[in-house]
Amino acid sequence: MSANVVIGDILLAIGAFFYFLGGLGILRMPDVYNRLQAGTKATTLGTFSTVLGVGIAKPEFLLKTLIIIAFVALTNPVGSSVLARASYLSGIKPCDCTKVDEYKGGGEE
């Protein structure tokens, strides 16, 4: 057990825990937008942590794990933004606790 393997294992454990939180958030939140919030944040940090953990524990994987991290960091927020806009435009009502709505009509005057 060298030092980098220990660091990698710790990062992997943190990432797995955030994955678990993402699943729980997806299940418990009341409407689509809140679900997307929980799911996107938790899985993005979970992927960062997990993949970086693998890259640190195995230095020969490091370059390719960096590419995976860059790809997920670019695509995951974009995907959730597009999905949030699509669900708003397709007429999904946000939950009753929503206070403010300044996005009426899809932002088109």
Binding site: L21, F61, K64
Partner: protein
């Protein structure tokens, strides 16, 4: 240690999958599916680490690309026409 990772990720995937099944509307299902796909990408990377095969990382990248494309295509469909 490895068993712990797989247990946590597996529970997360199962929770997301419950939402895929019960989700009241289709954006709910797609959101849960997107979350599940990112989790599975991480899972493939962990598998590459466990089996010590660098070629699995390519598969993880292809999976991430295809899941992103799936989310975009379904969103563009759901937006509908004006």
């Amino acid at each position: 240690m490895i068993v712990l990772f797989f247990t946590l990720i597996g529970i997360g995937v199962i929770l997301a999958f419950i939402r895929v099944i019960i989700g009241p509307t289709s954006p709910d299902r797609v959101a849960a599916l997107d979350t599940m796909n990112v989790m599975l990408t991480g899972l493939i990377v962990v598998l590459a680490y466990v089996f010590n095969r660098s070629i699995y990382l390519d598969i993880a990248l292809v999976y991430a690309l295809l899941s992103f494309l799936e989310t975009i295509v379904i969103s563009r469909y759901l937006e509908g026409r004006k």
